[in-house]
């Protein structure tokens, strides 16, 4: 098991399987198709961003999404909030860098305006993103501790 310590932007606990994007995560491009055209009861939310080879067509719903930052349209925060309300968001979001303003908006809106906040940790460092692999089991704690379990 490896442990990393970041800053809890939205404190909370989570256990989920890692989904790792080494490049910037384009929120709108990733969620657009899944939110718009998948059935409401389908919570898998496969990534629709064809420019992100790491996670294209992989399920994002309920994952521990590991990423440097988000990129793209300023609708990004709203899209993340919609995914949260519709039950299609990741279980938690883990940023290697300082969180960006669009992702922060989405995570914080989810925290304040829904009953089930999505734990969000940033500043986990480059080594975190170099270490974690898609499929790893992840545990997140309220103080920003993230465990990658063997």
């Amino acid at each position: 098991m490896k442990t990393f310590k970041g800053r809890p932007v939205v404190p909370g606990t989570a256990e989920a399987t890692a989904l790792v994007s080494h490049g910037g995560f384009n929120t709108l491009a990733s969620f657009q198709t899944a939110l718009q055209f998948d059935k409401p009861e389908d919570k898998t939310a496969k990534c629709g961003d064809q420019n992100n080879a790491d996670i294209f067509e992989k399920p994002m719903g309920g994952s521990a999404l590991c990423l440097p930052q988000t990129i793209g349209s300023t609708t990004g925060g709203m899209v993340l909030y919609c995914a949260k309300v519709m039950g299609k968001s990741p279980a938690c979001m883990l940023f290697s860098e300082h969180i960006d303003s669009l992702a922060a908006a989405g995570c914080i809106l989810g925290s304040v305006w829904t009953d089930t906040p999505m734990p969000t940790v940033d500043c986990l460092g480059e080594e975190f993103l170099n270490t974690v692999k898609t499929g790893d089991k992840i545990k997140v704690y309220p103080d920003g501790t993230v465990e990658i379990c063997d």
Binding site: F37, Q50, N51, S73, T74, Y81, S101, L109, V112, W113
Partner: protein, 428 residues
């Protein structure tokens, strides 16, 4: 909630629910947002008007409209009137049965009810749907030093850079919350320190750089940092006239969409660069040299997303961000001249020029309107990006001179000169 920033007694009262639970949640969101970026306090929004990014009644955004309804039901509205991004649909824009079905029956089913919500929250007028709210004809023109609560990346970077106003790159909803509360967190681009350039860009081109490619190159290099651009006034002058403003509009939109730039300084041209010069450059700023070869490299790196790249284009969009009045007139002259040279009367593929409703109105009062209509070009207030935001768009072959539209859709980028050739000669 735990927080470190300093709040005034009035702000604290709002946070504690003095004006109700919904207002308390609005303020709590802003406080948490500010805390995430180390904001030390809240500062008042001072601009006359706001600008929202969310203009579309997209069914999938129902949670956003539910949230907006909570605000309306609580009696909250923006402290300022606001403009909003362009509408996603215009009957004038070429479409077909399948697209109309998808747009009207599946995607934009919330448009009418959302428009009504916007009116209740503070939309300044039914004509105020544009990404270029800062055009004189539209009238949402902040003053230098104004504090804004805006979203829409291309408008924010223009307001910060060309007008000298101060605004962070906010997400949708956050900008509305700032306008409702009347204050925004003090961090990033609203601070003096956050406006310092951490990149020096040296433009060493032998011909005038295409605004959309230069912006793209800089955006991809500096990402969310602030660039200080040297050497560009050799090409666009030292006066912020209509030409320079139009150039910087398109340049800035590319920096913001191909990267995440919220502010740039142009040496000898933009207000803060003129006033403060190189004192705006932070210590240890990195350097990026751009010449013609670098711009060619960047342009050639754009992927072609068409399923059949060798086939002819089917639709052309010019005007993302929306065109200025002067740009509309220039494009009209250029298209007329190009058609005359090629011996054609109409453009070779369906072509749409987009501009703010108020700019379209002004344009339609001029003799250029009839000239443009005669070429077969459609003038619209639509948002090309939202028009292409559907699975059917991926099947069509759209060309554009917009690097923003290229980035977010399957459209193919050409320079303005290349676009003109294609639509007047049928080239490519």
């Amino acid at each position: 909630m735990d927080y470190k920033m300093e709040l005034t007694p009035e702000q604290l009262a709002l946070l504690n629910g003095e004006q109700g639970e919904t207002m308390a949640k609005v303020v709590k969101t802003l406080v948490m947002y500010g805390e995430a970026f180390g904001a030390t306090k809240m500062i008042p929004v001072t601009s006359e008007m706001g600008h929202l990014v969310t203009s579309f009644g997209l069914k999938v955004m129902t949670p956003v409209y539910d949230l907006m309804q909570q605000l309306i039901d609580a009696g909250l509205s923006s402290k300022q009137k606001f403009s909003v991004d362009p509408k996603p649909v215009d009957p004038k824009v070429p479409s077909n049965f399948a697209k109309n079905l998808v747009f009207n029956k599946f995607m934009y089913t919330k448009q009418d009810s959302y428009d009504e919500q916007l009116r209740k929250l503070g939309l300044v007028s039914d004509e105020a749907y544009t990404c270029t709210c800062y055009m004189n004809e539209v009238g949402n023109l902040p003053k230098k030093g104004d504090i804004l609560s805006w979203a829409e990346s291309s408008a924010v970077v223009y307001a910060n850079s060309v007008l000298g106003a101060r605004c962070n790159r906010n997400s949708g909803i956050i900008e509305l919350f700032g306008s409702i509360a009347g204050f925004v967190p003090y961090f990033g681009l609203v601070t003096d320190e956050g406006r310092k350039a951490t990149w020096i860009v040296e433009v060493k081109c032998k011909k005038k750089p295409e605004a959309q490619v230069l912006g793209s190159a800089i955006g991809m290099k500096v990402m969310e940092d602030v660039p200080y651009v040297k050497g560009l006034t050799d090409w666009i002058g030292t006066e912020l006239d209509d030409d320079a403003k139009a150039y910087l509009k398109d340049f800035g939109a590319a920096t913001a969409s191909n990267g995440a730039v919220g502010l740039y300084h142009i040496e000898g041209l933009t207000p803060e660069a003129v006033e403060m010069g190189e004192s705006l450059i932070a210590e240890n700023a990195q350097v990026y040299v751009i010449d013609d070869a670098e711009l060619e490299r960047v342009k050639n790196s754009y992927p072609v997303m068409w399923k059949k790249p060798d086939k002819a284009p089917q639709l052309c969009f010019v005007g993302c961000p929306h065109l200025s009045l002067q740009q509309l007139k220039e494009w009209t002259d250029n298209v007329c001249e190009g058609l005359k040279k090629s011996g054609k009367k109409k453009v070779t593929i369906p072509t749409v020029f987009t501009a703010a409703p108020a700019v379209c109105d002004e344009f339609n009062k001029t003799e250029y309107a009839a000239k443009l209509a005669a070429t077969g070009v459609t003038l619209s207030y639509i948002c090309p990006l939202m028009y292409m935001n559907n699975p059917l768009a991926k099947m069509g072959r759209v060309i554009t001179n917009s690097n923003k539209l290229r980035t977010y859709t399957t459209s193919r980028y050409y320079t303005s000169e290349e676009i003109l050739d294609i639509i007047t000669k049928g080239a490519k």
